[in-house]
């Protein structure tokens, strides 16, 4: 009997109305490098058990880094006893199982020596492409997940992830970022990520200060993925109900250009964010969030779904529903092709540090970093620096002029949710800059 099942016995014995138990064993190798040298090599393993209980209008959870079932059971008994001293009223039932799930992913081999060789290949490729130095990280992890619920759902899943993120610098400090994301570290094209980072660093040498103002811009996949992931997060009914979403009261309404298709799809085989069930045990499925620019609905767990009078979309989060694996519909061409269609504007290849003035209004700013190119008459004529995008999500998503065909998976320090995104040509992006 698995640890999760042992703990479930305790919940059933206690007569808990709604309970979820999951145990996860994670193994991760993380290599960090800087100045073309290894900074640190990490090898981490750990087991956690999480128990969530919902009854009589109250919710409680525990997460323990513990493999001793008797200790977990004692903690569960204490939690349930404490919860039952308070509260009253009803609770929304968990999705009723049993369910059938998609087959588990295959377990990839995670080998530290092999990963170090791949990281070295990325660094060398960046140098060959013109970089003088590179920094980055290469991580690969496998999580073995076991889940069961008081409503009869039970499943096993293997969640493999690999991510190589590389930033390269040229002699004048200009930089470029390369990224490769996959479920299996052996499917990472390390040399391609290095070439991309080194090439962008070299291309953006000699960047000059340019004025702020409204400009057309091609937002490369790493940038547009940041915006798409924000929209995906804000589609969570939890954040809608909290007033932390620009999508509140917009179901069935235009929220973006008709060109934009945004979905959450954790069912894509062999993908980094793929998972067979959500945190309540519901089988995951593809959910359209924005279709032809129209908001199709919010992402729900059973509780937010009940409050909104709809069915769960299988996006639990036990407290807040969330997207697992976002995809943006593709257009045609790469960022270079979109820029060629643009009379004047900028190409932004990466951005970070997105912060809101007002989540409900979607007012935010984010800082372009790494290569930013100046485009005139469809040609890249130079590089720019020192700019900030200060705009609203509604405006940027509504002003999409064209989407590229250069979709790629993005996940890195700035973008938490794996997001398959193309480049996007956006009209009238508001850029600001420091004036002192």
């Amino acid at each position: 009997m698995s640890l999760a099942h042992e703990v479930m016995e305790t919940l059933l014995r206690l007569g808990v109305e709604n309970g979820v138990v999951s145990s996860a064993r994670e193994r991760e190798v993380l290599l960090r490098f800087s100045n073309d040298r290894m900074t640190v090599a990490d090898a981490v393993e750990g087991t956690t058990v999480s128990v969530f209980v919902r009854e009589r209008g109250r919710k409680a959870g525990i997460t323990l880094g513990e493999t001793d079932a008797s200790k977990v059971e004692a903690a569960v008994e204490s939690m349930v006893a404490e919860m039952r001293r308070h509260g009253g009223g009803g609770s929304v039932p968990l999705p009723q199982g049993p369910f059938r799930y998609a087959a588990a992913a295959e377990e990839p081999l995670v080998d530290v020596e092999e990963m170090a060789s791949m990281a070295a290949a990325a660094v060398e490729a960046a140098r060959s492409a013109g970089a003088t130095r590179s920094a980055g990280s290469f991580k690969a992890s496998v999580t073995s997940l076991s889940m069961c619920t008081t409503a009869g759902a039970e499943g096993e899943a293997l969640l493999p992830e690999a991510e190589l993120s590389l930033r390269s610098f040229s002699p004048d400090g200009s930089s470029g970022h390369g990224l490769a994301v996959a479920a299996d570290p052996r499917r990472i094209d390390a040399a391609a990520a290095g070439r991309e980072a080194g090439g962008l660093a070299r291309m953006s040498m000699g960047a000059s200060e340019v004025k702020g103002g409204k400009r057309d811009a091609v937002l490369a996949p790493m940038v547009f993925a940041d915006l798409a992931a924000e929209a995906g997060d804000m589609a969570s009914a939890f954040y809608v109900d909290m007033g932390m979403s620009f999508l509140k009261d917009k179901e069935g309404k235009d929220v973006a250009s008709p060109l934009l298709q945004l979905s959450d799809d954790p069912t894509i085989p062999g993908c980094i964010g793929t998972r067979p069930f959500d945190d309540e045990g519901s089988p995951t499925r593809r959910n359209e969030i924005i279709a032809d620019g129209v908001l199709q609905g919010y992402l729900h767990n059973s509780e937010t779904a009940h409050a909104h009078g709809v069915a769960s979309t299988a996006n639990a989060g036990l407290v807040a529903p969330r997207p697992f694996n976002l995809t943006v519909g593709a257009g045609k061409g790469g960022w270079e092709d979109l820029a060629a269609e643009m009379d004047r504007g900028l190409v932004v290849t990466n951005a970070w540090y997105l912060r809101y003035q007002n989540h409900a209004a979607g007012e935010f700013s984010v800082i372009p970093r790494d290569a930013v190119f100046v485009v005139e008459k469809g040609e890249v004529v130079g590089a720019a620096k020192g700019l900030r995008v200060s705009d609203t999500l509604s405006s940027l998503l509504s002003n999409i002029e064209a989407l590229g065909g250069d979709r790629r998976w993005v996940r890195w320090w700035e973008v938490d949710v794996p997001t398959l995104s193309p480049s996007a040509w956006v009209r009238d992006v508001s850029f600001t800059r420091s004036t002192m």
């Binding site: 900074t39 981490v44 880094g65 170090a116 909290m242 932390m244 004036t435």
Partner: protein, 477 residues
Amino acid sequence: MEDLLRSAMEHALSLGAEYAEARHQSDVSERTVVKNGAPEVSSVESRSGFSLRVVKRGCMAFAAGNGLDAAGLRGLAAKAVRAADASGALKTELRMDGSPVCDAKDVLAPRVPFADVPLQERTSLLLESHRRAADSAAAAGCRLAGAFMSLGLLRTEKTIINSDGGRLLSSIPRASMNAFLTVFSPERGAVQRHISKGSASGWEGVESWALEESMAEEAATLAKVVNEASPLSAGRKDLVLGPEIIGLVAHESAGHPSEADRLLGREAAQAGETFLSERGAPRRVGRPMLNVVDDPTLPGSFGRYLYDDECVAARRRYLIRGGEFDELLHDRSSAAAMGTLSNGSSRSLRYDVEPIVRMANTFVEPGDHSLEELLEGVKDGIYMRSFMEWNIDDRRYNQRYVGLECHRIADGELAGLLRGPALEISTPALWSSIDAIGRDLEFSAALCGKGEPMQGIPVWTGGPPVRLRGVHMGGSA
């Protein structure tokens, strides 16, 4: 526990490591959440485990795991050494400095242990805080349209030994509260605010915040902003920054640029580097009265610790002294690389992440002006008390702060609220624009994000009000 750690450390040394440190860390976090005036969830998270960090032939490696016995720990040590051996073509030459290391205990006993406060009392405190905030908003003709309040009680215990003779036992409780409020008027729209409080303390820290009154005041202020704030035209103004904002400035524009690991390029692909490493970067950025410090030893502070995770004693560090960038924040490897000694800045969030260079409590040292004296000197300006949006580039050079509670200053008097003025300015220009520093020091709590994996570490940011002359303010959004 120490015997287990010592056995693992010695095993790593026997496998060829020149340096080894072994740590056991336990973090037990209790959280109570109220959403929109109803109990949302109460949770307990307990994470504990072991880590080994080694240096072998100049390469550093880190291994961590939980649920381990003595044999498992020796396996962990072997795994760390094997990872250090794996550097291959990326081999480096890293070493630890010669800093004195401690054999010490740092146990902060709470006056009111968290266990003495039942869940119902914690929940009731948040429910009452919500009620008071909602009443405040309603009294001003607005609605508390969204409210998230979370109370966190954390106890961190560490046992650390290293092969240079360091030994540390520490136990530190931390209390924190985070809120997100949305105040709405059908006629005038909505404003939102994040609020963070934190201290190294038991429940007495929570009591000191007077949350019910504090949330009522916050909602009342937001309602005033909704009802009364008027747009601002862009232009050059004098600006008084309140403690909340100058504290963030101290953190972002003095603290982060002064992290030695950024200067050495270690964080280049994530949090970034620092403009201080660039040729021609100015060292002098402010007038001689400007001092910005980072001090882990402040009693009760959210970022408090007396010894870091490399067993080096903590002390106050002058990041900007007399208007010039001065001391960097170091761990033992960055100090060795730069030919100096660590100043005790190495911290890790959990057992399963490596210690890295971190700030603790970063603030502008007080001057001698009252707030009234700062305002008196302004003919046409802005007093920015709080903010919502901010960011800064990865060299920590270009930053933006968008005000939330902002007052117009006319002839030295507050003269009405302004909506969302934006300060977008370089780090040298910001520090050099300060012509007067207040005397009333206040702190805010925050979690500072850095590292890979991301480590959100508790810090205080602070300062007294300061006055900036002739800065360019962007108009209201």
